[in-house]
Symmetry: none
Subunit: 199 residues, 4 copies
DNA sequence: ACTCACGGGACTGCCCGTTGTT
DNA sequence: AACAACGGGCAGTCCCGTGAGT
């Protein structure tokens, strides 16, 4: 009763194969040095087909990150209004880290790839940038602060993401050995004084 | 006693013309939509010549950012050792902002362009990333903290750059109307409690 | 039951159009004075496409000669084994000349173009070089001679091609007036003594 | 009383330095992989200057061969008029080979480079082509034959060069082990019957 | 659904004419 | 007057991405 046709499954297999091949090549030869043609050749598919599954070369990697932004904002929005900003944001970051960690081994490899490859790291930072704006907007609304005049929302969101980034780096650097939750707590212990000094 | 040959001057003029034309086109049509051929045509120079002046299309823009990293680290290193981190970092950011602002109108336009264009923004973020590592290293050394076990250096550097970014964004968003020094002060007023809570 | 797809046909048409346009331009303006862009423009195709069909500008012309090498070897292989080398090679050269002459007026003009244009002449000589190796290999096999120790195969092939070249030059120089078959006979009358002195 | 100005000598030194640098780079990195800029940089001369001394990148190498044409013709002209063509031409080729072999180890390596690199091989063949015309003209004159009606001069010159080429190839292929004089003799033993059948 | 052919843009290398420099 | 830098132009390569066919 799966209701998933054979076609669907084949598509999914192709997609997975493409992702696997792409990540392998990216990791071994580097992102820039890998061409779409090579990825396609690896899976024995025409280059054109690659573009049916992914909008662009970067897209393969970036897809991993999509949705995280809205998730983050939702996580923040779900917190009680009276809570101190540091607590709300800590939770937000923690949820994101958990999502990452839960995706298993591949997630770890992708994160490592992203953090190590300049071009991809840039894309990641771009995303983070959007997340920051999202979080800042949510914060401004929650706290009734005007983003136009105050810098706090932007800064607070930025600090939270700085923490997120530091935690992620530590986590991936330790091959997943260090505990995300613990790292998050330690990071927030440091930045909390600034986050809660609003006003 | 000019000491500068006619040739030198002409070269400089061509270089400036290329930068101007490139920025104009980038700002009006967008970075991706502008081709090197168009830039060259604007200056009435062959495309080949463009590449004699700039290593790549991005290079025109990115050149503006070069050196800022080492400058930042130097600025931080020049501060007295006993000073509170928030003060040292505030000064560091302030110096960078001043450097930006002093370059005049063109600097403003370049910053706007960079912040608005994804491809360039990515490059900028890449740079910032390096700067963060530089700053973190310098901080760790100054304070005698081990980056391996503590998150503080990474976080502090990240916060400083978050502040820098927020200030830059505000400044460019206001068309240069808002005062960089004032913005910097306000940003650091917010994050200072976290920066100085080291230990 | 054409069995040839629309795609195939279109490709062939494009290829033919490119050859036509190229030869026309080469013949009227001269080879060096014609740019690939002009050829492409004539056919309303991007320059990029030109290079998808031909490896280089010279290639368009030289392709006229392609296959001649294998043809030559085949012609030689088709001769009875007992035949004297001079007769076999005479026939081989004669067949090639006939192929040239049969292509009509354009072939003559192309040959003239090749012989007169240094860059093309160079390519032509390169080809001849390969043909020589081909012929030498075939000869060595037919006569059971080891190319490693004896010079004969290489020399005989070289002499045959020298004859071919001389005939071609005379033919093109006389605007096609002189009879290829007759020229071939005369050339071989001279070199035959050497060709048949094997052993 | 050399009568050669300081200027002349300096020019000669630059030229030599360029040749040295070029050959060194070609032999170590390969011909295609070496750029004119690199050669110029090595000699601390502007790239433009390179082209003042050599018509093209290929030219540096091929110059090794320059003069050989006139030398050849001179060698042929120096033979007694009554001598059989095969003997005169054998001597001509022998002199050229000797000139090659005398230049020592580098000559061998340069010859190998030329024979192996398509672009250089093409130039070499072009040269040979000119030599053939030179030799043919000299032969026609010596023997009082009209090149316009008879094919003999062209053919004889072609055969001699075929022999030269075969010898050169064998010599370079054997790393200089085989004796040029012996190879020349063997080659001419084969082609002599044709060369002396003039009439 | 998959492939092939195509477009187009960035970039490099070779080579040359012109123009300023010494 | 010799020299070198500057700029131009063309051939050629590589890669990403798309629309027309099968």
């Amino acid at each position: 009763v799966t209701a998933v046709g054979l076609r669907e499954r084949k598509k999914q297999r192709t997609r997975d194969a493409l992702i696997d091949a792409a990540l392998d090549l990216f990791l071994t030869r580097g992102y820039e040095a890998t061409t779409v043609d090579q990825i396609a050749a690896e899976v024995e598919v025409s280059p054109r087909t690659f573009f049916r599954y992914f909008a662009s070369k970067e897209d393969v990697v970036v897809r991993f990150l999509t949705g995280m932004g809205t998730e983050m904002r939702a996580a923040l929005a779900s917190r009680p209004l009276g809570e101190r900003p540091s607590a709300s944001l800590r939770h937000t970051v923690w949820v994101s880290m958990a999502a990452c960690a839960d995706h298993g081994d591949r997630a770890l490899r992708v994160v490592q790839l992203i953090l190590r490859t300049p071009a991809l790291r840039a894309r990641f930072l771009e995303r983070q940038d959007q997340w920051r704006d999202d979080l800042a907007a949510e914060l401004a609304q929650r706290l009734g602060i005007d983003s136009g005049t105050h810098l706090y929302p932007q800064l607070a969101a930025g600090m939270a993401l700085t923490a997120f980034d530091a935690v992620l780096q530590r986590w991936s650097g330790s091959e997943g050995a260090e505990d995300p939750a613990d790292l998050t707590d330690r990071a927030f212990a440091t930045i909390a004084p600034a986050l809660d000094s609003v006003g």
